[in-house]
Symmetry: C2
Subunit: 356 residues, 2 copies
DNA sequence: TCGTTCTACTAAATCGTTCTAGAAAAACGA
DNA sequence: TCGTTTTTCTAGAACGATTTAGTAGAACGA
């Protein structure tokens, strides 16, 4: 039981191993008569079809694509934005009858390169044909292993490497439109809330100002967006970046409270994601301040809830992003190696002129 | 390139194949000296580590668990409730350094058993050690294939089969508490909104009353909840079950609008999920009616948004459900084969006494 | 009738590992 | 010194499929 193989079936059915294999994979290569006999024998023996590992080995294809996700896998599901991307990706996977393997990553700190092995371990083990690297740092060991294995890698951040493919959003344009909006509204002091790695400062929910030497601790897309905001706001505007523990409303609220407690309170708070901004919104109201009048607030992504609470944000075609990533690694007809998706500034009630 | 194997490395390093294998898997079986030499040679040749398919074949373990999901994979991400389960499951997978493979299923209609093959195909192909069957029908071919393959199967619905494991919620108790509440409030006509399969009536968003012969078209958990509600409401209460196209706010709204348009409007609407209820809430308000006074409304699951809008519902420990499912298939120390999780009735403002 | 093509099937090589059993060398105990 | 144990490495057999190249016989055309 459980030890039934092609050979067992072949012997019992009185045919060769190849014939049994063909019965499953190339039905037109044998007579209907023999095929029926084979399948019937298989059923009788409780044979569950060709062993997928053996098949993968021999045919050199896995029937699955891998998804490399920022450090903590369960966080993938905590942000509606990531979930939207996943849904798009899953849609394409489904269309191609391909599995979608979520690959958990160990945290990797570039300042300790000797830890590369454990961080890449799961990527080594994964039976996949291609990989989507979602918000994974350029030098993460898992990414490097995927490349070494010769897998197609599609990335959501721009790495200057011809061997990879890219689906990007116009981060610069997005940051510029947000920054421009705040600048034009006359804000002179802008707090920026960014999420940080899990194993950051202890306790993790304690916010604190991001020092220049901390920048390596930022998630790669947070870094890009922060830089973009700084550029757009220009040198005359004071930017106060603050770490939130991670990408959640709770952490966003704590970080905003910290900023509002500042001796010289910022007149606007820009958050690196809508989820953080929703938390910040709660904190601002808790302080008895009015969002959009006393303090302006912006998010990023345009998740459904943003519209409901009137949050100014930047819309990304997230579902489309997931679909394109999937198509890029699965559809041989899909040629572009690099797609940049447009973003759209959505101004709502959470932003207004800077108070004096 | 790409054709570097253990043997290539062994030859170049002047050791046996087994030794190279040990260098990766059993570092204590060889001298540090030789190990370093081997790994260095591997690096030089661009060897990305043992081929996972071959490893899986030989060692008979995949390093991944499969998730069988109701028909449409991308729907897994559209309901915060499913997402919560996924997060819990992913958490455990991560802990065990195991991948999580989302397996897309073809739709299977029990009345056409000859279609079993295609519906089970992806399950045949998947390289996994165990399977979590989330809301998958008892007789779905993919589930049967998983069993045939001798995989551990953990299920979220109760099937009378000793070979499987179960994490259930107390559906009967949950339905009874909701039904009891509505009955005690004096409601005599209750609409029930249930989600239906993708390939149901065309166009899919058109709601319609569920006829007895349609019941096979219902998702398995919808059926259980509907039956539970009927039981709890008792024979004197008229129950009008209505199909929504699928589990989304839009479909919920359409189904509610259909019910309210009914010649003899129900005084209460019970939805099979919070997502549907949120849509129904919109529709009720659109009709100029007040939720909780003119029409009572209940959901199921207690997603975060339910608290925000005052929706009466039943809370399930969904995150815990995911975690238990994971533990059940991954942790050898975990013995229970059957866990029933408690539910809790959460009464909020969306329910009130039946109007006369 | 003979050569050719087509159909239905098979033998054996191969995919790239891990694992078992065992050998050679080194270390050890008395 | 000699037998025993330990350490370090290796040969070769699985693991369970797919694929290539080929064979026997039927069908075909002239």
């Amino acid at each position: 039981m459980g030890n039934v193989t092609l050979r067992t079936v072949a012997e019992q059915a009185g045919v060769s191993v190849s014939t049994v294999s063909n019965a499953y994979n190339k039905p037109d290569q044998l007579s209907a008569q023999v095929r029926d006999r084979v399948l019937e024998t298989a059923k009788r023996l409780g044979y569950a079809g060709p062993n997928p590992a053996a098949r993968s080995l021999r045919s050199q294809r896995a029937g699955a694509i891998g998804l490399l996700f920022t450090e903590q896998l369960s966080y993938a599901f905590s942000d509606p934005y990531s979930v939207g991307m996943l849904a798009g990706l899953a849609e394409v996977a489904e269309e191609f009858k391909t599995g979608l393997l979520l690959i958990p990553l160990e945290h990797y700190d570039p300042s300790h390169p000797e830890d590369a092995e454990p961080s890449a371990e799961t990527m080594r083990q994964s039976v996949v044909d291609a990989v989507v690297a979602y918000c994974v740092d350029a030098d993460h060991p898992a990414r490097l292993v995927a490349m070494e294995r010769g897998l197609t890698v599609a990335s959501t951040i721009d790495i200057d490497d011809d061997r990879q493919k890219y689906v990007l959003i116009d981060e610069a344009g997005a940051a510029a439109s947000l920054g421009g909006l705040l600048r034009d509204l006359g804000h002179q002091r802008v707090g920026v809330i960014v999420d940080s790695r899990m194993d950051d400062v202890e306790p993790r929910t304690t916010p604190r100002v991001v020092r220049p030497e901390d920048e390596a601790q930022l998630f790669v897309d947070s870094r890009i967006r922060l830089d973009g905001l700084r550029d757009a706001l220009g040198p005359d505007v004071e930017v106060i970046p603050v770490f939130a523990g991670h990408n959640s409303t709770e952490a966003g609220a704590a970080a905003a409270a910290y900023l509002l407690d500042h001796q010289n309170r910022p007149t606007a708070i820009a958050c690196i994601s809508d989820v953080l901004a929703l938390g910040a919104r709660d904190a601002i109201r808790q302080c008895g301040l009015e969002v959009g009048r006393d303090v302006s607030l912006t998010g990023f992504d345009d998740i459904p809830r943003a519209a409901e609470v009137g949050l100014t944000t930047v819309r990304q075609p997230i579902h489309e992003k997931g679909r394109l990533l999937g198509r890029m690694v699965l559809d041989p007809e899909f040629e572009p190696r690099r797609v940049v998706l447009p973003t759209e500034l959505v101004v709502r009630s959470s932003t207004g002129p800077a108070p004096h």
